[in-house]
Symmetry: C2
Subunit: 246 residues, 2 copies
């Protein structure tokens, strides 16, 4: 099992082969056995197979090709709507219209998403997470007709692999683990932990293509710019308000 | 593999047997191969083995016995601190002091946490998530000495199972899945989807023990009260501000 986890790669190109509905249901059933806060299951999964719906969603994900090319796109949502409805039908007044409850539901949704990804990869499927979901939550809510108390938190594209990319590097274990207390990083440690990543050919190419001096600058000046992060932060906080979580 | 996922149960009682450090490292290495936004790995894992540290953490988790009884407690944190340090050492100005970046890092942390849980269960270990982490983030930050840009988002206790509880029920697949668009629930659907849960003996016992009329009331009036959710929401938002994410 650890072999699966250790050897996985994100897959962005898929064959035209469909994903059988029974197989998908089987994987989602398994994902639903993962931990969930107080066994409330405060998440929902929206399955997109219709090509027109994929085309509507694509701009929300900056037109990354996986959205229209994957046979299945799954949007994982923090969802207290179903639970609230149940409470109200059972003479119970729910108090989940707040930020803590959003976080609870978001964590539930991500746990389900990642378990689904593990299940999918074990079945030979390829997956790709779309981080754009939190950026464009407002538009996704409109397209998928998400009611109050439902907020999309991540999207996964699923398909049979049509590529076999090299596995990406990861930081050394020591860089992400701390014993007993957080041991803040010295300059030397930062240099050491990032040296392997910086020495890679693809990193060097990345810097050159983007006409930057350092790999870090590609992240801060091009991929994840402060001004974009601030714009999308405002949008996301607005969404939490309109969906009833603030 | 789906068998593992389908048959899992949360384990709250552990034997006194320790977890070998090599085994733990092997599992965390596997967890680190899971997806992470832009390969930034904006999370950290704090490993607690020291009994005194467990006793300090225990009140943050409402003194649930797993914290002091599990051989290993792992606190998963959203962490842009390491990445920010790297950027600044490489003439790049990071722009991650905002809510969107917190969500990105929190999602990264949960994906790593859940992959670790899958790996641990495959190795025969039992796990339990502690949802209290977001409630008591402020105190956990103090105990684990988390610097700015580091926020604990979930905690997992790990140990060799000393119990074999019954598997908990889950809602039917249809209750959590939506095809193409969110199909909001009718009263009849809510009744149907929750009927199995409500018919269970343990649910009935739960209602009786708590002197309530319905199972939903146990959730709203005792387990997850509006006033507590609101108090902890304020605390968590304050933490995001002091840690530099607002």
């Amino acid at each position: 099992m650890l072999n699966y986890l250790n050897n996985r790669k994100t897959i962005r190109k898929y064959t035209k082969e469909d994903i059988d509905q029974n197989l998908l249901n089987e994987m989602i059933t398994a994902a639903c056995q993962a931990s969930t806060t107080g066994n409330m299951q405060v998440y929902s999964i929206i399955e997109t197979r219709d090509q027109k719906m994929k085309e509507k969603l694509a701009p929300c994900h900056f037109n990354q090709s996986m959205v229209t090319e994957a046979p299945v796109v799954l949007t994982f949502c923090a969802d207290f709507n179903r639970f609230n409805k149940w409470c109200r039908q059972r003479r119970a007044e729910p108090g989940f219209d707040n930020f803590l409850s959003f976080m609870t539901a978001a964590i539930d949704a991500i746990i389900a998403a990642q378990t689904l990804c593990v299940a999918a990869e074990a079945k030979g499927l390829g997956i790709c997470y779309l981080g754009t979901t939190t950026y464009m939550a407002e538009k996704i809510i409109e397209i998928l007709e998400l009611p109050e108390s439902v907020v999309p938190v991540t999207t996964v594209t699923l398909g049979w692999p049509a590529e076999d990319p090299e596995q990406l590097d990861r930081l050394p274990l020591k860089a992400v683990m701390h014993r007993e207390k957080y041991c803040n990083y010295s300059e030397q440690e930062i240099d050491m932990y990032y040296s392997e990543k910086e020495a890679r050919e693809d990193s060097k190419q990345f810097i050159e293509e983007n006409k930057k001096e350092t790999l870090a600058q590609v992240f801060t000046d091009i991929r994840y710019r402060k001004e974009d992060n601030e714009t999308f932060s405002k949008l996301l906080l607005k969404v939490l308000k309109t969906q009833g979580y603030m």
